[in-house]
């Protein structure tokens, strides 16, 4: 899974989880971003199309964003994107959005753990994306 963490809260929280020696799953790659709202929906779609199983976005608490109300936009945008996933047949739980502060490494650990539990039950992403006929055409 791919984790985007805002560098003010989510990323420091994730860093704190490491410093506290909290056991974390090794199955994620964390990318620090300026703000949770700077993760465009296109990035999420692109990542899923490339076979990433799930995308998590960590940001500051609602109301605690460093860039005015940027994460409010992220909430609405991601909710709409999840609805779009619903009808197109991608499970909406593949996109997780979570808000916390820099002092919440345990929340980071818990959310990553729960996210992994969900993703383990879902089929791998790349099988869904490329229909069988599409693959035989290419061979």
């Amino acid at each position: 899974m791919l984790v985007f963490a805002c560098k003010w809260c989510g990323f420091i929280g994730a860093d704190g989880a490491g410093r506290k020696r909290i056991p974390l799953t090794p199955h994620f790659r964390l990318i620090p971003v300026e703000c949770a709202a700077s993760v465009e929906p296109d990035v999420i779609i692109r990542a899923l199309a490339d076979g990433i199983d799930g995308i998590a976005i960590f940001g500051c608490h609602l109301g605690g964003c460093r860039y005015n109300q940027a994460n409010h936009m992220a909430v609405k945008r991601n909710e709409l994107l999840q609805d779009l996933f619903d009808i197109i047949g991608v499970d909406r739980r593949r996109l997780m959005v979570s808000w916390g502060t820099a002092h919440e490494p345990f929340q980071f650990e818990r959310d990553i753990y729960r996210f992994q539990q969900i993703l383990e039950k879902l089929p791998p992403m790349d099988h869904l994306l490329k229909p069988p006929t599409f693959q035989t055409n290419r061979l």
Binding site: I45, H61, L62, Q69, K76, L84, L129, F134
Partner: protein
């Protein structure tokens, strides 16, 4: 026929009184119909109203190339008008330089487009017919069912037909980004004739999520008969239900995706108390600290 005479009169009037330098509309010449500019009152006889061709994107190109102070009148249907408003919101054109001549769609056209609002806000030509609820259609509901976990088969088989002609992008009156992300090799593989079905269409659909005016131009253009309008109508429905916003109705309201949650709810300083989308809208009681 009466409607056509009405349209000719309005066109003549506008050009006679110099309310606009030219009228953008559909012209019939030598037995074929196409978009054209009417410059003098004598041209007004060439004006026709059918078939439906979206003029807003052509109007935008004319206005961008025209000298300053050029006043254009556009024969616009309901969808054209909404598209022009959305373009104005995106700072693509100045609506004060444009005179809108509202043309109401006829009944068969509304039924063909499954249009909810087949009329502009001010109708000059024709009579308003009631809109059609697109979600009353069984086929549409079937397309928009929620899929199960192993799903994506239905939409994968539909989107797979895409030949990546970019017709949907080119026909869309609101696709004006330059450079276009769909033509960028970082986002969409340029070599594949059949693009990754999901990436191409989801990126396109979501770019237009808060500005689609449901004109149906994408679906009409599509040579592979992909029901693109179904996705857009669904997104429009969600926006309307959740935020009470419909694109193109006026120029004042901005897209809710660009605003914050406080102003929208009307309640001061009250934010939805939720921490993560795993447990939506509910504050988590058990904290992570207790687990270790």
């Amino acid at each position: 026929m009466k409607i056509l005479i009405q349209a000719h009169e309005i066109a003549k009037q506008i050009l006679d009184k110099r309310q606009a330098d030219a009228i953008l509309g559909l012209m019939e010449k030598n037995g074929s119909v196409g978009p054209g500019l009417l410059r003098s009152p004598q041209d007004a006889e060439d004006l026709v109203l059918e078939p439906k061709i979206l003029l807003s994107k052509i109007g935008l190109r004319i206005l961008k190339a025209a000298p300053a102070g050029f006043r254009l009148a556009i024969m616009c249907r309901g969808c054209d008008e909404r598209a022009l408003r959305e373009l104005a919101k995106m700072n693509q054109l100045d609506l004060s330089a444009v005179r809108l001549v509202g043309v109401a769609c006829r009944e068969f056209q509304a039924a063909r487009c499954v249009c909810q609002r087949p009329y502009p806000t001010h109708t000059d030509v024709g009579e308003n017919v009631p809109g059609i609820d697109p979600f009353a259609d069984e086929k549409m509901l079937e397309l928009l069912q929620k899929e199960d976990i192993t799903g994506m088969k239905r939409w994968a088989s539909i989107l797979q037909k895409c030949i990546k002609c970019y017709g949907c992008r080119n026909a869309c009156p609101l696709c004006v980004c330059d450079p276009c992300r769909l033509a960028d090799s970082a986002w969409i593989l340029p070599i594949d004739i059949s693009p990754e079905p999901m990436a191409f269409h989801l990126i396109r659909a979501f770019h237009l999520a808060d500005r689609c005016v449901a004109c149906g131009a994408c679906q009409e253009t599509c040579p592979a008969d992909i029901p693109l309008l179904a996705i857009q109508l669904f997104l429009r429905k969600v926006l309307k239900e959740r935020h009470g916003y419909e694109p193109g109705l006026d120029t004042e309201h901005r897209s809710p995706l660009l605003g914050d949650l406080i102003k929208e709810s009307g309640k001061d300083d009250e934010l939805p108390a939720w921490e993560s989308s795993l447990s939506p809208k509910q504050p988590l009681v058990a904290r992570g600290e207790e687990k270790i």
